[in-house]
């Protein structure tokens, strides 16, 4: 209509004079028309805008449909190199609807032919109940599913479920833990990170290296067999950031079969078990004494006679019956010397020092099996004396390893962790001893392997250092004679330590080859040596010529010996 009636009539048609009312009407019409065309212009501009240009608020349909994602109900767990350690696979679970089932007895008989492990009587009882849903069997294999389908029994059906699968079976069992049939974490990493694994899609990246784990597990198993031990534990830790590269506790279990796990295989000796560690504690005792400034490396103590305290007598295992310097006390693992050293430093300082290096608190490592250390209720002088050589205070191997890491890496304590730290992340840690003390401890540890009780831990080219530990096991309230806990804690390469390697054998017995000895030096030290020579190349540690003058200078330590009242200086 608007098109037919021009807004602006031509002049020549304005022959009769236009009455003022009509004039007013026309101008009103003009305004209205202008308003309408403005509105239409806006609408068409908006139309062009909406159809031709993408706006931010607009939902992106095209993108949301173009990415089909495969999501499992529980995230994968991978090792530091991306090897799969735990994953979830789809399985079919068989259920029945007894209300629809025609003949329960026949169904049970037919099913038992296909699934022979079924309990016929129990199943029959369940199938005759007045219910509409019962599980017959969870997680069938594809073949079993096919055979059940072929039976054609009405009232049976499958439900898709997921099942946790651990491709490496028992190898990483004590770290990973396991899940129940409904995929809830019951132990280890699976339990500690249960919520995260259920909500996250990206895999959980552990610090574990499966190759190192295998080397450690194999060597420990060989040692347990050879010395008829009842168990073992082993840890490899990166001293620069606290990443645990390997943790083994024997015996271990297959997490794929959670129903078959025995309670003794479930016990984690590396983090849950707390033990009196014995002489490996002398690392802490010596570091504490040297770092306090009260004792210097040139000092020494008289170790001629055993110390009698109330009903205890403290003796030396490798007794020298003479004055011993600090390096000698460490090298010969003298209990008498260690006690005198600890007493000179004092009870309060000892306690504060052990507190600082995480000995008095449960390990912060991320699994659910963590043992709390057993600490004396009242820290008296007698406690300080026994603690100096690793008795009267029980800790888990993980606590010991983290503490020793701080002693050798330049004096920085890093909390041990099972999670891989992103590359380039800063590892702050916390200074616990001076770099100078740490250097002294490194030389002392090297001395033990080069000339002392730890010689069996040597691995040519990797400059191993370490300390042996042999402790009688506490059973009930007394020490069990002949039941030993033999351990060795080592580090390599000693001139710039990268990794701590710890091995412990539970109740070993000596063999002919070891002349009946079952001490740390005979039983655990060889394990550490073998493990280091296997994992060194894997971890990319450069080998050194151990007898090169530059290396010998770095590891040299002055030892003062006193014979017939004269002080002599020997240098190793």
């Amino acid at each position: 209509m608007i098109g037919r009636q021009p807004f602006f009539p031509k002049k020549r048609r304005r022959e009769p004079p236009v009455p003022p009312r009509v004039e007013a009407g026309r101008s009103r019409l003009l305004i209205t028309g202008a308003l309408f065309s403005a509105a239409f212009l806006v609408v068409s501009a908006r139309l062009v805008g909406v159809t031709m240009f993408v706006e931010k608020s607009q939902p992106q349909y095209s993108r949301s449909v173009s990415k089909p994602a495969f999501v499992t109900g529980r995230a994968n767990i991978v090792d530091r190199n991306g090897n799969l350690l735990a994953t979830s696979l789809k399985t079919a679970s068989l259920y029945a609807n007894p209300r629809v089932m025609l003949d329960a007895r026949e169904a049970v008989n037919k099913l038992a032919n296909v699934l022979p492990e079924l309990d016929r009587r129990a199943l029959h009882a369940k199938l005759t109940q007045d219910r509409s849903f019962i599980w017959v069997r969870r997680h069938l294999t594809p073949r079993q599913k096919y055979e059940v389908n072929r039976l054609g029994i009405p009232g049976l059906d499958f439900r898709d479920e997921e099942r946790r699968v651990y491709p490496s079976a028992a190898l990483v069992s004590h770290i990973l833990g396991h899940t129940d049939i409904d995929n809830h974490g019951l132990a280890g990493i699976e339990r500690h990170f249960d919520r995260k694994l259920q909500s996250d899609k990206s895999p959980l990246n552990l610090s574990i290296d499966i190759r190192v784990q295998h080397a450690m597990r194999q060597e420990l198993a060989t040692a347990v067999r050879e010395f008829h031990g009842i168990g073992a534990a082993g840890i490899v830790m990166d001293v620069r950031n606290g990443e645990v590269i390997s943790m083994v506790s024997l015996p271990d279990f297959d997490p794929n079969l959670p129903a078959d796990i025995q309670s003794d295989t479930r016990f984690n000796r590396a983090t849950l078990g707390v033990y009196e560690m014995g002489s490996t504690f002398k690392i802490f005792n010596t570091a504490m004494a040297l770092d306090s400034g009260i004792v210097t490396i040139r000092d020494g103590y008289d170790a001629t006679k055993p110390i009698k305290v109330s009903r205890f007598i403290i003796r030396d295992f490798h007794a020298k019956r003479r004055w011993l310097s600090v390096p000698e006390i460490f090298m010969y693992s003298s209990n008498i010397g260690s006690v005198k050293m600890a007493l000179e430093v004092g009870v309060t300082r000892q306690r504060a020092f052990l507190q600082k290096i995480g000995i008095l608190h449960p390990s912060p490592v991320e699994i659910s099996e963590i043992g709390a250390p057993l600490i004396p209720g009242r820290w008296r002088e007698i406690n300080a004396m026994t603690i100096s050589f690793g008795h009267g205070l029980s800790v888990s191997p993980m606590q010991l390893v983290a503490g020793v890491g701080a002693m050798v890496n330049g004096g920085i304590y890093h909390a041990p962790t099972f999670l891989k730290k992103p590359s380039g992340s800063k590892n702050k840690g916390r200074r616990v001893i001076s770099a100078k003390t740490s250097d002294r401890i490194r030389r002392l540890l090297r001395l033990v392997v080069a000339k002392g009780t730890g010689s069996k831990a040597a691995a040519e080219g990797f400059l191993v250092g370490g300390k042996t530990g042999t402790a009688e096991k506490v059973v009930g309230r007394r020490y069990k004679k002949k039941a030993l806990m033999s351990s060795f804690v080592g580090a390599f390469p000693m001139n710039a330590p990268r990794y701590i390697v710890f091995a412990m054998i539970d109740e070993p017995t000596g063999t002919e080859k070891t002349f009946g000895y079952a001490t740390g030096g005979w039983v655990a030290a060889p394990v550490v040596g073998k493990v280091i020579s296997r994992i060194g190349p894997i971890l990319g540690v450069k080998t050194v010529d151990e007898s090169a003058p530059a290396i010998e200078r770095e590891m040299a330590i002055d030892i003062i010996t006193k014979q017939k009242g004269k002080r002599r200086l020997a240098s190793f």
């Binding site: 190898l171 450069k542 010529d545």
Partner: protein, 119 residues
């Protein structure tokens, strides 16, 4: 009587209707195609997932070690079999300007750490 403009509009409307219809069916069939592809992708992703699990099962260190020992003629590297790159001397140049060629492999002494130190 239908005017020419009305005819044009009607034809346009019919053409638009047919066009819309064709487009709708095309989109529908493409959507079906997309859904099929998505399903196939999901199936393949699941197969990849299962294969990855199998791959890691086959890659267990214990199995690889056993295979390596039985089928390969190789041994783990020992510390004395490695050498720093700086320790390797440059090829000597004779006065005549001719370079000497390395001796045959069986005439080279083994690079043991201890022999190196004695020199």
């Amino acid at each position: 009587m239908i005017k020419r403009a009305t005819m044009i509009w009607m034809l346009l409307a019919i053409a638009a209707g047919i066009g819309l219809f064709v487009l709708k069916y095309e989109v529908k069939s493409m959507e079906g195609e997309l859904a099929t592809i998505h399903q196939k992708t999901l199936d393949n992703l699941e197969a990849v997932h299962v294969l990855k699990a199998e791959w890691s099962y086959l890659n267990q260190p214990a199995r690889l070690e056993d295979l390596g020992r039985r089928l390969l003629d190789l041994e783990p590297v020992k510390a004395n079999q490695t050498i720093e790159i700086d320790d390797i001397p440059f090829r000597p140049v004779h006065e005549s300007g001719a370079t000497s060629y390395p001796p045959a492999a069986d005439q080279v002494p083994p690079l043991f750490a201890k022999t190196r130190r004695k020199q």
